[in-house]
């Protein structure tokens, strides 16, 4: 059914169709609409679920950790400071191999306190062992929820998944979204039935202390499994297309890269603006394109190398910065192309704290890309 709805509602309705048994969250702007929507669905009896109102994001993440360990499908959501407060649990959830799915409605980090969008919050947790999906639009945000559960709960994975959507731009922005029928979701997403859970009939212990003799192997196993998602995700998106009839999600998206001489690499809703600008520039005869990163962790290095193999000039647009270094995607991209000559790769940082990234910003980046190679050039700084 197609509806003109904001991204938060699209996510909430997608989550509802996945029927999580336990939902827990703490209010933070701009994530709140998602969990308010879910709370209403539970209150109306449309979703038979335990909605646990907690006293902090740290506890929200801990509640879903406990519930998924008993074998219930779970959901939580957060933004910015909330996500960072959760971060201790975020790392722990991955280490304990708990298939939690959460939405991160991306927002800047304090200080200064700022409620508007950039990607600094989720980017700061890229090393946590979670799969990270970045949605371009509301439809994809909803679709990635289904795919997130499918991946997280796959017995070959058992890793948590974070669906990231840009605060306000998507969370509060209205778009036409096709919310699927329940039977299609049931067909796509099997019931969650973990082989090991907290069960008095089979009493296992979870969350052990592992010393130097074991820790390295256990972390290596988690690392390998997160990387394995690179092979699982294409199968999931193929199956998604078979059942729902549309392409959505995946590892990366190439946009007009065929003969491109310049490309921007980025993630999230800004890619919509980049696509429009690419179209305009293409119409003017400029050979430009976009590589959109949908799955940022695991990092789809091979696909990125392939997609950009013939593009000589690459601009990475990060809506985040590793302060004192560079943008995080830029750093990953440079590492991926390490030892491969004949490329100019420049890093640009824009849009922090909700500063608009307009078609003019994108044109400016293409313009600067023709100039000297840079690593951490902020775009649009006022004098």
């Amino acid at each position: 059914m197609k509806d003109f709805i904001e991204g938060s509602e699209a996510v909430a309705r997608a989550v509802c169709l996945c029927k999580p048994g336990v939902i827990s969250a703490y209010p933070i702007t701009p994530q709140t609409h998602i969990v308010e929507g879910l709370a209403q669905m539970v209150a109306d009896g449309r979703l038979k679920s335990q909605f646990v109102n907690v006293e902090s994001e740290h506890s929200a993440a801990s509640v879903v950790l406990g519930a998924v360990a008993v074998g219930q499908r779970v959901f939580t959501a957060s933004s910015s400071q909330g996500l960072i407060l959760m971060s201790e649990v975020i790392f722990n959830i991955a280490g304990m191999r708990m298939p939690v799915v959460m939405a991160c409605v991306n927002r800047a980090l304090s200080a200064p306190i700022n409620i508007w969008n950039d990607l600094q919050d989720s980017m700061a947790l890229r090393d946590s062992g979670w799969v990270q999906f970045y949605a371009e639009n509301n439809q994809e945000a909803a679709d990635l929820i289904f795919q997130a559960y499918r991946l997280a709960e796959d017995p070959r994975a058992l890793i948590p998944v974070m669906v990231c959507l840009d605060g306000y731009i998507l969370s509060h922005g209205l778009e036409v979204v096709d919310i699927p029928e329940e039977d299609k979701v049931t067909q796509f997403l099997p019931p969650f039935n973990p082989s090991e859970k907290l069960d008095t009939a089979n009493p296992k212990s979870f969350g052990l202390l592992a010393g130097p003799d074991y820790y390295l192997e256990i972390r290596h196993d988690l690392h390998q499994t997160v990387k394995d998602a690179l092979t699982l995700i294409p199968d999931i998106t193929a199956d998604f297309k078979r059942i729902f009839g549309r392409n959505s999600g995946g590892l990366v998206e190439s946009y007009r890269l065929e003969d491109a001489e310049m490309a921007i690499v980025s993630a999230g809703s800004v890619c919509g603006t980049i696509k429009d600008t690419v179209d305009v520039l293409r119409a003017e005869g400029k050979k430009v394109g976009l590589l959109r990163i949908i799955t940022y962790r695991p990092f789809p290095e091979e696909l990125i190398l392939q997609a950009l193999a013939k593009v000589p000039m690459i601009a990475v647009l990060d809506k985040a910065v590793s302060l004192g270094a560079s943008g995080p995607i830029y750093a990953d991209l440079k590492a991926a192309f390490q030892g491969k000559p004949g490329k100019k790769i420049s890093g640009y940082i824009a849009g922090l704290g909700g500063r608009d990234i307009t078609p003019d910003t994108i044109k400016e980046i293409f313009k600067q890309l023709a100039g000297p190679e840079v690593s951490d050039q902020f775009i649009g700084l006022k004098n």
Binding site: M96, P155, P203, S205, Q224, T225
Partner: protein
């Protein structure tokens, strides 16, 4: 390595598997000796043993498990009949 449920390595533990760790080796100086003479089966030694290894039902039937006993001496200290005695580890092993 066998791949089970996405985990090449098991990260949970089987109930009671700590029994693999024979903490009796910690004992260096002394061990409790259950004399089984004046015991009144009050069960206090069972209740206070931090390892949970003292067993017995009838009077003068109580004993501990030296595989795990760390020799803390709590059972002897609480025995109201002084029927548990801490003895030097050597004298026992010399037997």
């Amino acid at each position: 390595m066998l791949r089970v449920n996405g985990l090449r390595i098991k990260i949970t533990a089987e109930p009671g598997s700590a029994r693999n760790n024979k903490t009796g080796s910690w004992r260096v100086e002394r061990r409790p000796e259950f004399r089984q003479k004046d015991c009144i089966a009050c069960r206090l030694c069972i209740l206070v043993c931090p390892e949970g290894i003292v067993a017995g039902k009838e009077k003068n039937s109580f004993k501990t498990d030296y595989l795990y006993c760390k020799g803390c001496g709590l059972c002897a200290a609480v025995c109201p009949k002084k029927d548990i005695e801490m003895v030097a580890e050597e004298t026992e092993s010399e037997k």
